[in-house]
Symmetry: C2
Subunit: 118 residues, 2 copies
DNA sequence: CCCTAATGTATCCGCAGTGATTATATCCAC
DNA sequence: GTGGATATAATCACTGCGGATACATTAGGG
């Protein structure tokens, strides 16, 4: 299964996969992490979140998980999700695509060249 | 006028602005350059191209130009476009946003850290 | 306790962007 | 002069986005 067939990922999809890349999260928690990580520059609407997750589950990029926080701290309503292997490879492929885009932007002098690039 | 109000740019819009960043182009020529620069990985449909350019003109990110190639080599039908100052700043802002996304992807270990980064 | 706000999941629906298709015309090579 | 590539443009169905809404639960303050 070639992850490139999902490219380009939409901003919403990439933000969700990115958020799940280092651990499981529940829906609402994803929205808050995106908000925090981007310092408010990226926003994920609730309508987008749940419809997108539904699609990602159907496509097999994301899986539902039984993972639970310490019950004392957790909330029964939460549904946790994790990246599938395919989802991870799709996220990597998208990240590589973005690296190319940035390189193109540098080639077009929209960005300064990095000070040092090994 | 804050270019950030246009973010995030859609893939089609960014590809068009990127193409115009180092010189004037006509519509069909933009499609071909995108195809070539990405080595076929990015594709810009004709329907997308012309409707998007129309919108970009209305938003003032792109301007029509009187520029002409040597008449012997040029084609009367062509309409040339160039980046406006606002368009350039929007493209830069988008490129910077992509740099942040790539950094996020590195932080989440989706990509290896760059070998050297000054 | 109760009230409110925040948390949490979920659906609905209008809107915007995409891109295939179609139409039309011109350019160029043979 | 015929055919295929070039070129612009409008139409149209499809998808993704995100605000609005609904509803239930949880947390905290008075």
């Amino acid at each position: 299964m070639d992850p490139k067939r999902f490219l380009p990922l939409t901003p919403a999809v990439f933000q969700i996969l990115l958020t799940l890349a280092d651990g499981e999260r529940h829906g609402y928690g994803i929205v808050r992490e995106v908000e925090q990580r981007s310092e408010g520059r990226a926003h994920l609407g609730l309508g987008t979140l749940y419809s997108t997750i539904k699609r990602l589950l159907a496509e097999g990029l994301v899986e539902q998980s039984q993972w639970r926080l310490d019950p004392a701290l957790d909330d029964e309503r939460r549904r946790y999700y994790r990246l599938s292997e395919l989802g991870r490879r799709a996220a990597v492929a998208e990240a590589e695509r973005l690296v190319e885009l940035v390189a193109d932007a540098r080639a077009k002098k929209l960005l300064a060249a990095p000070e040092v690039q090994g």
